[in-house]
Symmetry: C2
């Protein structure tokens, strides 16, 4: 599949940080930056932009805030035309936290929101565009969205100036036919815009669903090295680059990064295919209950967890 | 997806045995038998039927031979209408090794072959049918087949009495569009027959490709508990049962088997998503080079392995 419009975004640090509160050391972040740049990846998302008031620096590492000085410490000394992105969550950031692009090394801000907050997200994304950034809106947890709310949201997005809208399967619950339906729906509603896909791997479908979205016309693709990310993780970048036929991509720097940095990281944080994540995925539930179980001494009590989830027994 | 024609076959012992020469103890095999029976699985494939002359009993466990007494030791005491299957490989078995169904607890023989041996496989499958078994032909390594050879093979199979033909992605290399193309091709050529799918997970696509084949009309589906199988493993049974909507399936016995038997087995044999398997998958190569690398102290030298595979440097 070679379509020049396709752009790949690595969100190793941003999504992986959901597993360790963004407590990555500079060596790891720099290795990811250099590997993705050398591999020909189009964007690297280095973390979240958040208000200092919203999160504590004591528990959260620098990539929850993405200060300019922190980013520059990573990027300096590397020649690349790869662009840099940060994500922000509606409700966790103020307009004034996002200054002019001329004073930032960031190229793009991705605004994440639940479907009820699409209008707030459009407002913030317009602010980002006004400040000179590229901007996207990423509607999370789309598998829980009610059709009528989605229709309204897509209608509002269609009238906005936001050029890119992502379909985000936060719960890793969608099957290919649902990805097909949603991607086509987005494209139909957002005719002059670009549609992106961000998949989670609870059902071992993150890569397959990314391919399905590509076939249907999605041109912005999220992936992470070795699939690192919340819970079951994300679409593995090494698989995606192998699938895409664009000659600019080079798999080898990613293989090196897995060997030297992701395998050691896998000893510290657990992501991937674990049965509790599979269970929340198959039941269309937020992975938080699975993460809680994974951190407990009941992590292998699969039947018990499954029955509690099916019954809706509160787990927290 | 609920289609009453769909039948699920568990090949945990048969394909998993490729990783440990079928040296499973009776407790493990019995646990798999009871769990799949309780889960509503249609067939369990308990191993290979092989000539004693073809393999040594010293290195291969009982499930490489599937003697009646060995099987009965597993099945006795369990009430179920689940059927039992064994696989045989062309060239590793003689007609006389397969006696009459009336003297066997097996219900089905699946004949595996490379495409060049389809006529031998048809001959053996006809013998199995004559002896009173159900029979299938599983054409392995289909990603390496030349189109003209496949057309001829399908033509021969179409004229045969063999009722079920499997598409087998032995190298775990096919993407959804290829699965779609091949499944449709099989169905077109084998109009009154049933088509099956056996996928490997090198590219994290075994489950997705099984779904794709279902959508295209495949009605025989192979899977293994927790995805155990050669190299990267197979389509995980727990994912497949969760996807299929047939009310007779019950996920819970499979969750129990994972907790009590597959997690401990995972400490002894390694299957799953490892980069060497991903590399052979993405290059459409037999996993044997990856298995060799995985067993060596170069198992993490990914770039080196990749470059040798791309260059065609002999690895053995």
């Amino acid at each position: 599949m070679f379509r020049p419009e396709i752009k790949v975004l690595d969100c190793t640090i941003r999504d992986g940080g959901l597993m360790n509160d963004w407590q990555f050391d500079d060596d790891f972040v720099r290795a990811v930056y250099r590997a993705t740049a050398a591999a020909g990846v189009d964007y690297m998302e280095i973390g979240y932009k958040s208000s200092e008031a919203a999160y504590s620096r004591e528990t959260n590492g620098p990539w929850k805030f993405c200060d300019e000085d922190d980013i520059k410490r990573i990027t300096e000394g590397t020649e690349t035309d790869m662009k840099l992105s940060a994500m922000c969550d509606i409700g966790r950031i103020e307009r004034e936290d996002i200054g002019p692009k001329s004073q930032s090394v960031l190229d793009m801000i991705r605004v994440a929101c639940y479907i009820k907050d699409v209008d707030k997200a459009i407002d913030l994304a317009h602010h980002c565009l006004d400040q000179g950034y590229e901007a996207t809106i990423n509607i999370m947890a789309i598998s829980k969205a009610i059709e009528r709310d989605l229709d309204e949201a897509l209608d509002d997005l269609g009238k906005s100036n936001v050029p890119v809208v992502y379909l985000v399967d936060s719960y890793g619950t969608l099957y290919s036919e649902q990805i097909q339906y949603l991607t086509r729906k987005y494209l139909l509603a957002l005719k002059d815009k670009t549609v992106g896909i961000h998949a989670h791997n609870n059902l071992q479908l993150a890569f397959a669903n990314t391919i399905e979205a590509i076939i249907c016309g999605a041109n912005r693709l999220d992936a992470t090295i070795y699939g690192i990310g919340r819970g079951a993780g994300n679409c593995p970048l090494e698989l995606l680059l192998s699938f895409l036929k664009n000659p600019k991509f080079d798999l080898r720097p990613i293989l090196d990064a897995i060997q030297m940095h992701l395998l050691p990281m896998r000893e510290k944080i657990e992501w991937g295919y674990f049965i509790p994540y599979m269970i929340t995925g198959t039941l269309n539930e937020h992975p938080r209950s699975a993460m809680k179980t994974m951190a407990s001494d009941q992590r292998h009590e699969f039947r018990d967890f499954y029955e509690k989830m099916v019954d809706g027994t509160p787990l927290e």
